[in-house]
Amino acid sequence: MSNVEGKARAITVLSPVRPGWPLWLHGLFFAGTHLTFSLKKLQQLSFIHYARWAIVERRWPGGDRPRGKRQRYRYLLFESNFNGSWDEYIDAFSEVVPTRIRLIWGSSYGFPGPLPVEPFKAYIRKNELPIDHYYSAYPAATTTEVISALEVARAFESFIARSRGLAGADFKRSYEDFLFEVQHHL
């Protein structure tokens, strides 16, 4: 079992939602999806490739049965694909987006709050599911490296277009402009 694939790490957390809170969560996630500013802080966590929240309704899926057993509670599922250590990840969540974390996991039983961070880490550990198989298509790359690579590719195309037909000193000048543009992404 492994939650690591190269530089990529995976986390999967399932927590029981207090009665009465699912409506709040639906509203919160709706706002998160449709109001750009509310997502910005999460997107600023530059070590997240992809993350999601989902609400598991009281009737779990039933395979080929119409529905599964009716559970007492709804559950909040969180999964993330990130780079860096598990501790750094939870620290960043706790320090950079504590309000959003409180708004989301405050709906779950047992949530101690994002700060101080140690009880929050203990809560995540308790509710984290071990991963049985994990796959990343580019395990050697961090999120920042992917974003940088996409920037380099964009600038490269533009450089190729504007340097067409240039030679000697003109080409060198154009190349140096390109290098200046991408230097922080190499």
Partner: protein, 180 residues
Amino acid sequence: MSDRAGQACALTVLAPIERGRQDLLRTLLQGLPTGAESPLARAPGTHFARWVVVPQLVYQGPPQKRDELDLAYLMFTSNFDGPLEPYLDALCGPMGEAADAIWGCCIGWPGLGDPASAKAYLLRNRLATSLFVAGYPQARLPEVLRALELRERVTRFAIGAQGQGAESLALAWRQEFGGP
């Protein structure tokens, strides 16, 4: 439902495992080859994906009341290039034997001998995503892989070309990247 961010899509499938097959499934999943040999590498457009066995629910203590599953569940999550339909085709096609062996441990899996029913099964046991965050939502997998490779080549070139004169720089560039 918010299964999309830009072109990126999120899929979550939660299927009940047949009683008595949980250990077998775990052994199977943990024994799968990883990296480029993973069966998930055969589903085009998959950026990140995982299989997780959910054996039971975690009790948080009072005031929560105990809540237990009657069956263990297999969770599959994937972050992939949309749209969903062709991706489901890939899961039920190129992944072939592995998909059959894995979801074959779940209640009611129809088998890939009947791809339409297998797709319907995944859809029926799918969870809606409430909030999906993507670090680079517009980038499809081939674009990411090409960009990562290009970044490495440009970095290598930039280091190697330091201090070169105009003519030799243009020549070296042509040799590495073609043109101008």
